[in-house]
């Protein structure tokens, strides 16, 4: 693969969750084009329900698009067989919104999990690798604790250590900042930046934390109602005159994205209309 070719490429991807009767339901994504290169940190932004997480699910091959192609490392994810898809997933790391740590295993065992499943390394080598990964997220001292005994921010960091256990080439972060205190948030943001650089991985971060992400990412895609409505570098986004982006960056309650859920006339609803 030539060096300048993107590691992740989506072309004209449309997606709707199928319903029981076989018909397609509400359109989640329509005609999405997106590219991420190795070493690049890209943010997907947009309101809740704009289809950001669905993009990650498509990249991981968990759901199938109705049209368009999703390529990772030049391979069409949805044309792969089960074994090939699993082989590709070994080169991906994913950080789930709340960490998704295995609650019946210690912090150490959680990080060791991918290593034990996918390698034949002896215990001593696994131990060294796990401690290195935990050290990278600053939690080497917490190795013996159970997930129930650590805070939400720590759980997210353990999950991050687990996601990078096999040195992935693509790292996906689903809302890594949601529900974190300012200190944990800063730590997590720095880790995302530095880990992506250290592994030379393509990183995709799904977030609606505008202020934090504008500081760390290289490129931003803005999603609204399943379409990419704006994209650019952080400076371009800050300078954008698009009302939607403006509203998002400024955090205004009303704008192109309405504060009110569609409703009949207020006065009429209260029975005050003549």
């Amino acid at each position: 693969m030539p060096a300048d070719q993107p590691f992740v490429a989506m072309e004209g991807v449309s997606f709707a969750y199928p319903t029981l009767t076989g018909a397609t339901g509400r359109q989640i994504l329509s005609g999405v084009d997106l590219q991420v290169r190795r070493g690049q940190l890209v943010a997907l932004m947009g309101g809740s329900g704009s289809g950001k997480t669905t993009i990650l699910r498509l990249l991981g091959g968990q759901v199938k698009p109705q049209s368009g192609t999703v390529k990772v490392d030049g391979r069409n994810v949805h044309a792969l067989g089960h074994a090939e898809l699993f082989a590709l997933r070994r080169r991906m790391g994913m950080l789930f919104q709340f960490g998704a740590l295995f609650t019946d295993m210690s912090v150490f065992e959680n990080v060791a999990f991918p290593l034990r499943e996918h390698t034949d390394l002896p215990d001593s080598a696994i131990r060294d690798l796990v401690l290195m990964k935990l050290n990278a997220v600053g939690l080497r001292g917490a190795q013996a604790l159970m997930p129930a005994e650590i805070s939400g921010g720590m759980a997210r960091r353990v999950a991050l250590a687990r996601a990078i256990a096999l040195d992935p080439q693509l790292i996906m972060y689903d809302e890594p900042f949601a529900g974190l205190d300012p200190i944990s948030l800063g730590i997590t943001a720095n880790l995302i930046r530095s880990l992506g650089a250290a592994l030379n991985a393509a990183s995709i971060i799904v977030t609606h934390d505008v202020a934090e992400s504008l500081q760390i990412v290289d490129y931003i895609y803005f999603l609204a109602e399943g379409k990419i409505v704006a994209q650019g570098t952080p400076d371009e986004i800050r300078a954008s005159s698009m009302p939607y982006v403006q509203q998002f960056v400024a955090g205004s309650p009303d704008g192109p994205v309405r504060f009110h859920y569609p409703a009949p006339d207020y006065a009429a609803d209260l029975g005050l209309a003549k």
Binding site: Q62, R89, Q97, A100, L101, T103, D104, F113
Partner: protein, 260 residues
């Protein structure tokens, strides 16, 4: 009226779809059972969790069922002057029927529910999705070891139940009521057939083990990933697996013990 007919149709289609999914997941679990045997430690840990922790309830229940069998059996047998056969009656009742059936029902309540709840909560916490994204099949890593652990545990627990039950019958019949001890044991030894009674009982409990554990595993895996969904799945495990055990027991008994 039309909505009513539509509802029936939807319900039927859902039920058939679920049955199909159940069958496919069963085949998939069997096909992906390699890990459960190649890494025996995973399965042994589950045997410990599922089997060992069910031991107390099994032993206590077995003892009481044995007590009751001793009392009831003696009451009926002494009317015909054949209280010598008490040992035989207690042993046959337990080995053929009560051992496998009651163990399976208790197992559904004790271990089945915990399997369903555990898998359901793993699903709700995105742990199963996380596993899939790490290129690890949850069916091979989570479902299969639990399934085989249940299948292995059930006959062992049933044997334990029967043994303790016979001891309970002995305490009530021989020690407390005073039935002749020699007759109690010798009638049992001559009357209980190794193949007809013991082996058939073991076969029953293996079948129950497959049914109960797989229903528990399936309900957890199929549950809606919400607190409400998991609680409903847990209830369904107890209801479906109890009914399945009783229905299977009838079928197996008909196959095994109807002569001619």
């Amino acid at each position: 009226m039309r909505a009513f007919i539509e509802n029936i149709g939807h319900g039927l289609i859902d039920a058939i779809a679920k049955l199909g999914y159940f069958a496919r997941l069963f085949v998939l679990t069997l096909r992906q059972s390699g890990t459960a045997f190649a890494r025996l430690r995973l399965t042994i840990a589950q045997v410990h969790f599922i089997g060992n922790y069910s031991l107390v309830i099994i032993v206590v229940s077995g003892l009481f069922v044995g007590f009751v069998l001793g009392l009831q059996g003696y009451n009926t047998l002494q009317r015909y002057g054949s209280e010598q056969a008490l040992g035989l009656l207690v042993a046959l009742s337990l080995v053929r029927e009560l051992g496998p059936v009651v163990t399976a029902l208790l197992f559904a309540g004790r271990a089945g529910t915990s399997i369903t709840a555990e898998i359901g909560l793993m699903k709700a916490g995105e742990q199963l999705t996380a596993m899939e994204m790490m290129a690890v099949s949850p069916v091979a890593r989570v479902l299969a070891p639990r399934f085989w652990a249940g299948v292995v545990s059930m006959p062992l627990l049933a044997a334990m139940f029967s043994a303790v039950g016979i001891f309970g019958g002995y305490i009530v019949g021989v020690v407390m009521i005073g039935v002749d001890e020699g007759a109690f044991w010798s009638q049992m030894q001559t009357g209980v057939d190794w193949m007809d009674d013991v082996a058939n009982g073991v076969i029953k409990s293996i079948v129950f083990g497959i049914a109960v554990t797989f229903i528990a595993v399936f309900e957890g895996y199929d549950s809606l990933p919400t607190p409400e969904g998991v609680s409903r799945a847990t209830t369904r495990t107890v209801v479906s697996s109890s009914l399945a055990v009783l229905a299977l027991d009838f079928i197996l008994t008909a196959l095994m013990f109807s002569k001619g």
